[in-house]
Amino acid sequence: MNTFRVKELNAYVRDLLESDGVLQDVWVTGEISNFKRANSGYLYFSLKDAEAQLRCAAFRRLSNGEQLRDGLQVQARGRVSLYEVRGEYQLYVEEVQLLNSAGDLYVQLEALKQRLAAEGLFDEARKRPLPPFPRRIGVVTSPTAAAFQDVQNVLKRRYPLVELVLSPTLVQGADAPPRIVRALERLYERDDLDALLLCRGGGSSEDLWCFNDERIVRTLARSPFPTVSAVGHEIDFTLVDFVADVRAPTPSAGAELLTPNGAELLTDVRYLDSALDESIAALFSRKHDALARSMRSLARLSPMRSLQDQRQRVDDLQERATRLLYGRIKQAQERVAAQRKALEAANPFNLLSRGYAIVTRTHDNAPVTSRKDAPVGTAVKIRLRGDTLAARIEEESTNERYKRTLL
């Protein structure tokens, strides 16, 4: 297998085309479109028929080059080769012959267009907006044509809520214009339509020519409903396109321009549906919060609350009083114990346990505190710890000497 650079492959294909004897001198019949006259004087255009297109370039001065324009039916002679830069194959035109007298027709068409434009039939100010949600749309076309099937297919998928009222007619040939006019007028008699679609599928400019008819253009101009024209393909223009309120490039596109997108609407409706749920839930939640706040305020204002406070204070005081009372009792007990201890310490009988004795006279129990209280011969009681001795004073002795010394 070979690997090429792009340039190499294009050169190879070019050689292949140029080495073919048939392709080096051919006649091709078709309609001129995309016609361009470059500053260099070269002419560029396409030749097309109902099915296909062919790129053409004329680098040679053509005898009738000045007459060439879009829409003309011609026969062109030339050689086929490849324009390597773009990788496009094209016809390098040597000669062009005009077929029939289409040139005259175009001159007439241009004149008609100017006249109608001067009357204001194509004015932007006349254009009406299409209804956003049409319920019934009048369609003028051939019932057997693919165009009408296309329109139905689009609407079935996109917005099947609409009802079509088909006013059938021929859409091609010399008989077509009056038939189309009558088909339009049948719809104008109704008052239940929201819009009108005049459509026809693709074809040669001759096939579509009847849509340049003045009678059709004038009839469409006085439609009581907003109008959409959809004749041929993207590149085809006829006079009905200028007079219609909206021009659609194809019948399918016409059906889309006339209707809202059902899938988007369904999404939007579901969104709105859940927005209802959310906003009612939010409202409930706000009401609930407000209720809870009120309940709290109410609780703060309630007499129950101060009653509880008072009760608690009573409890506190009771406890404090109890604590105080027990404290006092304990203090008193301690004081009593201390006094008892002091009393015991002061009790003279306690001295007896340390060997001291109390001496009293037996006859009158008077304490003997000096020599004079108990002369010799006096009976005394000597009280010891636990016992009492009975005794008699036998001798007096004084500490005279000591006394004197003291004195």
Binding site: P132, F133, R135, P143, Q152, L155, K156, P160, L161, V162, E163, L164, V165, L166, S167, P168, T169, R179, R182, A183, R186, L187, G262, L265, L266, V269, R270, L272, D273, A275, L276, S279, I280, L283, R286, K287
Partner: protein
């Protein structure tokens, strides 16, 4: 609610949008809000039913 089932899509859809707006706009009394909510739900159901159940109808006139 019977009136809602007679509404065209356009009318039901617009009414639904308005209902949502009203409900979202402010502090309505609860009973008013509930009435709006129920109406909105019925409108949404009507819109969905129209969008999902519709079949394209074609009426052909006679060529005279």
């Amino acid at each position: 609610m019977n009136d809602i089932n007679a509404l065209s899509f356009e009318d039901a859809y617009k009414a639904l949008q308005e209902t949502v707006e009203q409900l979202e706009s402010g502090e309505l009394p609860l009973n008013e809000a509930m009435t709006l909510y129920e109406r909105g739900k019925a409108l949404a159901a009507r819109c969905q039913q129209l969008l999902t159940a519709a079949e394209l109808r074609v009426q052909q006139l006679n060529e005279t």
